[in-house]
Amino acid sequence: MKNLVILGAGTAGTMVANRMVKRLSQREWTVTVIDPNETHLYQPGLLFLPFGARDEDKMVRPRAKTLHRKVRWVKQEVRKVEPGAKQVELVNGDHVSYDLLVIATGTQIRPDLTGGLLGDAWQRTHFDFYTLPGAVALREALDSWNGGRLVLNVVEMPIKCPVAPLEFLFLADDFFRKKGIRDDVEIVYATPLDAVFTKPLAASRLGYLLEEKRILVEPEFMTMEADGRKLISYDEREIPYDLLVSIPTHSGAALVQESGIGDELAFIPTDKHTLAANDLQDVFVLGDATDLPSSKAGSVAHFQSEILADNLLRTIRGEEPLPDFDGHANCFVETGNGKAMLIDFNYDVEPLPGKFPLPGVGPFSLLKETRTNHLGKLFFRWLYWHGLLPAKPIPLGAKMSMAGKKLLSPPDDSAASAA
């Protein structure tokens, strides 16, 4: 009996487990998933909680319900991977051998890596919305906040869901306007990037959103520490705040560090196109755990999982994996006022205007604010639980398509930098 072992049952791990268990013969292969957590969290819902949504019960499901019944779930924590011996060691001392390993252990926020972020100020003036407890605490704080200076800070890249900071800013503007206190609030975005939109076409088409929503931008801000009242950068700039929403440094899982197989942030060096781990035999990496330049996003995990499934089967048949993954990502961006935008891109092609998934027809519009897109985002949770996670066949190309897209060049004087 051969063993396909998958570490982590988040979005990527669950999708690939459910996909593979349907494609492998039960007589020859066991598909094992190792994850210590009881529940699966629908992360895209976190964005709405700070602004008064109270449907966190619909964002969490018992893990057993998300995994195909033929998947063997080991509810244990992994200590480390031993690629030489083709096994993983669990925290309880047991070992699990593998013939093929998929590491899908994701990424986590590390507020501990920025001085002053945790401690007394944490969940008093410093908040996050990248965890369930964090988003709920921020909801309570914003509920009774009467105004002042709100700073949203991305500490460093990479982060999960690179559009989430923008969505937060747009929804915050909405939230405070509806409360009638928008004029009492200053919304500031401090980012290490040199602009809010670094891709020229996106910048020229969406820059108006920042002006319209009166969002002040502090670009090229590399946060060194926070002291409860202000951010301080490595080059000694200061940004004061009354309320800080931090998107901290992200790292890979501790077990990656423990196994010595990750880079300086514990992300695993992975082949950009085949998804094989660069230096480890019979090991593949999926989702946020990789060091790939593709976004850390659920849609990326979905497209990757389709390609990985094919490559796992090729490997099993003794063939070479194919370099099929093109970095495809497809993300809704909430823009407030019941509207959203959709962006579709890959390693080589920036977000372009057009219609998705059907060229010319849609129904979703790319790089444009529409109400249909917003409805798409709301419907997405249902699709996630009922279609994507169980790996039901969904007619979306794993590779990005250029069909129906308009290759526009941005106006000559559109600089990528804002403010």
């Binding site: 460093e156 690179p162 559009v163 040199d194 490595y234 060096p269």
Partner: protein, 104 residues
């Protein structure tokens, strides 16, 4: 994309001043780009620049500050002093590698 002369060699640079072909880089070119940016390259500068070139050759992308600091004897704070205002980008420009990227 325009042609630019550095230290007697003509190379192509893009709109933002990054070399389009990292293979055409030479240390003399690096020095000339640095001078244009108002920087005189000392030993610590070179440590960062050399690491960026090696890393780009392995990974295909320009490393961020944390990665440079983790693999050299230069801290992030020092990088800010050596390459004032935007060291990640400045080192890449001087090293002839592409601008560190993001998706939107």
């Amino acid at each position: 994309m325009t042609a630019h002369n550095y230290a007697g060699t003509t190379v192509e640079v893009n709109q933002e001043g990054y070399m389009t072909d990292a293979n055409r880089w030479t240390p003399a070119i690096g020095e000339a780009i640095a001078v244009e940016l108002g920087i005189v390259l000392g030993a610590h500068h070179w440590e960062a620049v050399n690491f960026v070139r090696d890393d780009y050759a392995t990974t295909g992308k320009s490393p961020g500050l944390r990665r440079i600091a983790a693999n050299t004897n230069v801290t992030i704070k020092q990088l800010y002093r050596l390459f004032p205002k935007g060291p990640g980008k400045l080192v890449a420009r001087i090293a002839g590698t592409p601008k560190p990227k993001s998706c939107l």
